[in-house]
């Protein structure tokens, strides 16, 4: 069942995170989430379920929102990753982060990073102008604290800010 070697197989992973290149040795079975958190010290991304459903671990890999708990670190070799730590430029909250703050769209904050990354990806694709669409954008992440209402407002406000006024609905 397990390989013969008593030492874990290790490999080097080179990855750009939030614009900065990192190079580190990791075991081949280390998940991308654990690699980001414990090898690179970027603990903003969290683990809530480790089987891809809760979304707390969502990051952007080459621009696409993915579950970092469902990837091996070694699979990210050569990729460009964005995590929550990269959203605030120069310490200034991004429009989305500011909208979350204004609307009280976070309580315990554990799921927040995953939501911010999922929403960031969605808003890059285009505007989100209705409650229904906002709900869909949020549907791939789970929050147990807020009940989502404040997040919906935050998404719509941010879309307005980034994409301009709503088209006639």
């Amino acid at each position: 069942m397990n390989p013969e070697a008593s030492e874990e197989a290790a490999t080097q992973v080179r990855v750009t995170v939030n614009g900065r290149e990192h190079r580190a040795i990791t075991d081949v079975r280390t998940t991308l989430a654990d690699f980001l958190r414990h090898k690179l010290g970027l603990t903003g991304t969290h683990l809530g379920c480790e089987h891809g459903v809760c979304g707390a671990c969502t990051i952007l890999l080459d621009g696409a929102a993915v579950r970092s708990c469902l990837m091996l670190a070694v699979q990210a070799d050569g990729a460009s990753i964005e995590t929550v730590e990269g959203l605030a430029e120069g310490g200034q909250l991004s429009p989305l982060q500011a909208a979350f703050h204004r609307n009280h769209a976070l309580q315990c904050g554990f799921c927040t990073a995953g939501f911010l990354m999922s929403i960031t990806a969605a808003l890059r694709e285009g505007p989100v102008e209705t409650d229904e669409h906002a709900r869909e954008v949020l549907s791939g992440n789970i929050c147990r604290c807020t009940g989502y209402a404040a997040m919906i407002k935050a998404v719509l406000e941010t879309s307005m800010q980034l994409h301009g006024t709503r088209a006639a609905s």
């Binding site: 397990n2 008593s6 030492e7 075991d27 079975r29 280390t30 958190r37 970027l42 603990t43 903003g44 991304t45 969290h46 683990l47 809530g48 379920c49 480790e50 089987h51 459903v53 809760c54 707390a56 995590t83 929550v84 730590e85 959203l87 605030a88 909250l93 982060q97 979350f100 703050h101 204004r102 009280h104 976070l106 309580q107 315990c108 904050g109 554990f110 799921c111 927040t112 990073a113 911010l116 409650d131 906002a134 709900r135 869909e136 949020l138 549907s139 791939g140 992440n141 789970i142 929050c143 147990r144 604290c145 807020t146 009940g147 989502y148 209402a149 404040a150 997040m151 919906i152």
Partner: protein, 795 residues
């Protein structure tokens, strides 16, 4: 002599004389947010502990079995494994962990930190591996060999109570943990004599807390000071610290238990004390190395405490008007394998009467041992079940008499001028159940108006003609909250010239760093910028109870208020001496303490601390100054406060698939004085999402062998944004006379009546079929079965 501003302030709140925003009641944005939004949260596994070893627990995979032998030798040999401990290996520490809430008649079976001879539920910790990484620890788990002797397992309360049932615990007398009866009046006589009596049987399955952060605990022992520091993702730091001190036989001050600044949700399960918490601390002391255990979701599903099924057999007696005469509810509660605490069923016991005047009451609890994970509070804590039973019957009464369900409720509501209202039975805190304040008719009216109840009744008929099944459901509830025994706070003017408020309580997202700074600001009359709040550390404040049962605003709030009022007086007294004036009319202006009538006469906060805190080495303290500007207050409420609410739902049922869709939902909420509306709304709406989960989606199954069937989110559903409907929420404020803030609790009101409201609405939609909704959650298979007139087939 007082100034106009002060006089006004005195009538509205503590003496806040500053010309600035009144903080209590203000929707202040949270201080916590910046770090949480930018990925700098300080959750336990985010803390920098690179030298910590990691633990993994081997857990029973049988519901009930004797442990014949455990062989850990292969596990020990795996490179990277530092130690392995079984229950046997930690005997000095293996004492029973007492129930958090007990009862004189409780048949308490010992709950040990790890199993010793017998396991009683799938998920019970049996051994622990300590290794250099969690990955290796999990590898080692697979190398432990255990020899079990399978024993019959009890997988439901019905099985527990069946005549000749096997024992969930071999050493027990039977499977009843406790049997409690509460009575008011003469219910049996009243039921016998009443013109109308209706019965109903309802089964309500709840589920787990499923905070997105699972449990976590880390410990480090300092061999020099011989003190243990434990970081614990807990809702109850002092409770946990006290438990550890008892288990380890250590002085309480030699254990410092800290809830990290950020805890990723609690909702009840983290307010309990678990064997894992005891084991990790002990291991850290044995190995003299820091150790941490980060629970994973699989463990959380099978070993974090949850609430499970209650079956209520309820009878109501009423007259031709629908006026309630008597109520008798006998219910079975699935307590699980151990009584970690009786709070859930005891709360159910006293919550059933709700907002109604009922002269004769009989509530009766059979708390049953089963071979499943122990029950403990999950948001709502036994109240959703009670509300479901009573509110379903109110609708049945209306149907029976051909009356409108809202009208039947109106006729029975306790009126606003009847407070304080003695229900006639006891509450869990041992005092006679007394509702402090409320306005139930206004709540109900407000909810129904916003729902457009009359409009929907009309539309319901029209739409039925089109073949659409629309239903309207109402559910009213009361919520005992703000519980004692006490909660504490300290306030100190630090050497940096800021006020540090130290709460014993620990937050999991409720915004304590903000809310208590607001309260402190008003109590002191000092700008919030000069106030900082710290929480959840037994090393900073010796006594506390914990965050649960929506109690902190009503207890820690007054404690902060009182501590800060006292500190304000001390600061002013010190300033007066420093300034050589005889006065206590001071105000804070920014960082200055100024004479009210001449603000140019002032000292800075820092200067004050120099005098009273720091002093000058060897120099006598100024005469009259009391050294050390720190105060503390422990607020002990006289009894529980009562929040209340009224929910109403409009649903549509798909008659073919049984799917229930919420078309409209209104929440009327009364939690007394609202300290921060932004946060209060967040609590109610968050609670509502959990309530929708209980109403429609969440159900954790065990099979007949007491094997959990839902062990991941692939077979268990938490509501996402698609499943939580929009809600219209309004507040009324009936301040509580039991604390100076007038505050009650806001954490659970969104959850409590949701299953009842949805079940009522669903049955209303199906009235033409005569279908009965007797089980919650109201899932499509159950609805389809109800429509077809049959019970759902065995799974």
């Amino acid at each position: 002599m007082s100034r106009p501003g002060e006089r006004e302030a005195a009538t509205r709140a503590p003496a806040a004389a500053a010309p600035k925003q009144n903080m209590i009641g203000a929707a202040i944005e949270r201080r916590e947010d910046y770090r949480l939004l930018t990925g700098q949260g300080e959750f336990l596994d985010d803390l920098d502990m690179p030298d910590a070893l990691e633990a993994a627990f081997l857990r029973s995979d049988l519901g009930h079995a004797r442990i014949l032998g455990i062989d850990t030798s292969a596990a020990l040999e795996l490179p990277g494994v530092v130690a392995v401990f079984t229950g046997d290996d930690i005997r000095p520490m293996m004492k029973p962990m007492p129930a958090k809430v007990a009862h004189p008649a409780l048949q308490e079976m010992p709950r040990l930190p790890m199993a010793l001879d017998e396991v009683h539920y799938v998920g019970e910790p049996v051994a622990v591996i300590i290794a250099t990484s969690r990955y290796i620890a999990e590898d080692a788990l697979e190398l432990i060999e255990i020899d079990y002797e399978d024993l019959p397992a009890i997988s439901s309360t019905a099985a527990a109570l069946a005549p000749g049932a096997p024992l969930a615990h071999l050493g027990a007398r039977d499977n009843i943990a406790v049997h409690v009866v509460q009575r008011a009046g003469d219910p049996d006589a009243a039921l016998a004599a009443a013109p109308h009596v209706l019965s109903g049987t309802f089964a309500i399955t709840r589920s787990g807390g499923h905070s997105i952060e699972c449990r976590a605990v880390a410990a480090r022992y300092d061999t020099v000071t011989r003190q243990l520091v434990v970081w614990d993702s807990t809702q109850a730091p002092h409770y946990a610290r006290n438990a550890l001190a008892s288990l380890y036989d250590m002085q309480e001050d030699d254990i410092r238990l800290i809830a990290p600044r950020d805890v990723g949700g609690g909702f009840g399960p983290k307010a309990q004390f678990y064997g894992e918490e005891a084991v990790i601390g002990w291991v850290a002391m044995q190995l003299r190395r820091p150790v941490k255990w980060i629970e994973d979701r699989r463990e959380n599903f099978i070993s974090a405490m949850m609430e499970r099924t209650q079956t209520h057999r309820i009878k109501v007696a009423f007259d031709d008007d629908g006026t309630l005469i008597a109520m008798k509810d006998v219910f079975e509660h699935d307590q699980g394998a151990y009584v970690a605490g009786l709070q859930v069923p005891m709360i159910t016991l006293s919550t059933v009467p709700g907002q109604y005047k009922i002269p004769h009451i009989h509530t009766e609890l059979y708390s049953c041992y089963t071979n499943m994970v122990p029950t403990s509070s999950v948001r709502g804590a036994g109240r959703p079940q009670a509300v479901a039973a009573m509110e379903r019957m109110m609708d049945r009464i209306a149907e029976y008499l051909g009356l409108d369900p809202a009208e039947v409720r109106r006729r029975n509501l306790i009126q606003p001028d009847e407070f304080p209202y003695k229900v006639g039975i006891m509450f869990r805190d041992g005092s006679p159940l007394t509702y402090d304040s409320g306005n139930y008719p206004e709540l109900l009216a407000g909810t129904l108006e916003r729902l457009d109840y009359d409009g929907w009744r009309r539309r319901q008929g029209e739409l039925r003609a089109e073949g659409r099944l629309i239903g309207i459901g109402i559910a009213c509830y009361v919520e005992g909250c703000g519980l004692g025994p006490y909660e504490g706070a300290k306030a100190r003017l630090t050497n940096r010239g800021e006020v540090l408020v130290t709460l014993a309580a620990a937050p999991q997202g409720q915004g304590y760093e903000t809310v208590y700074a607001q309260i402190a600001s008003d109590a002191l009359g000092l700008d919030m910028d000069y106030i900082r709040v710290t929480t959840g550390d037994t090393g900073r404040i010796p006594f506390g109870q914990g965050t649960f049962a929506s109690r902190i605003t009503a207890t820690a709030g007054p404690a902060v208020l009182q501590a800060c009022q006292a500190l304000r007086a001390r600061i002013f007294a010190t300033a007066a001496i420093m300034l050589k004036v005889e006065a206590d009319n001071f105000v804070f202006r920014g960082e200055r303490v100024c004479l009210a009538e001449d603000e140019s006469i002032s000292v800075t906060l820092r200067e004050v601390t120099q005098v009273a805190n720091v002093g000058k080495h060897g120099i006598t303290l100024l005469r009259g100054v009391t050294a050390g500007l720190e105060t503390q207050a422990y607020f002990a409420p006289e009894r529980a406060a009562y929040a209340s609410g009224a929910h109403a739902a409009v649903v549509e049922v798909d008659p073919e698939t049984g799917r229930v869709t919420v078309l409209k939902y209104v929440i009327g909420h009364d939690c007394g004085t609202v300290i921060n509306p932004l946060l209060a709304d967040g609590q109610v709406l968050g609670g509502f999402a959990a309530g929708i989960g209980n109403a429609l989606y969440e159900e954790q199954f065990y099979d007949e062998a007491a094997q959990p069937q839902t062990t991941s989110y692939l077979d268990f559903s938490l509501p996402s944004s698609m499943e939580v409907p929009p809600v219209e929420l309004f507040h009324i404020q009936s301040p509580s006379p039991l604390n100076p803030l007038g505050a009650k609790g806001a954490g659970e009101g969104g959850t409590i009546p949701a299953p009842a409201a949805i079940a009522n609405a669903t049955e209303d939609a199906l009235r033409s079929f005569g279908a009965r909704i007797n089980e919650m959650p109201v899932t499509p298979p159950r609805v389809a079965a109800a429509i077809a007139g049959r019970a759902p087939a065995a799974r």
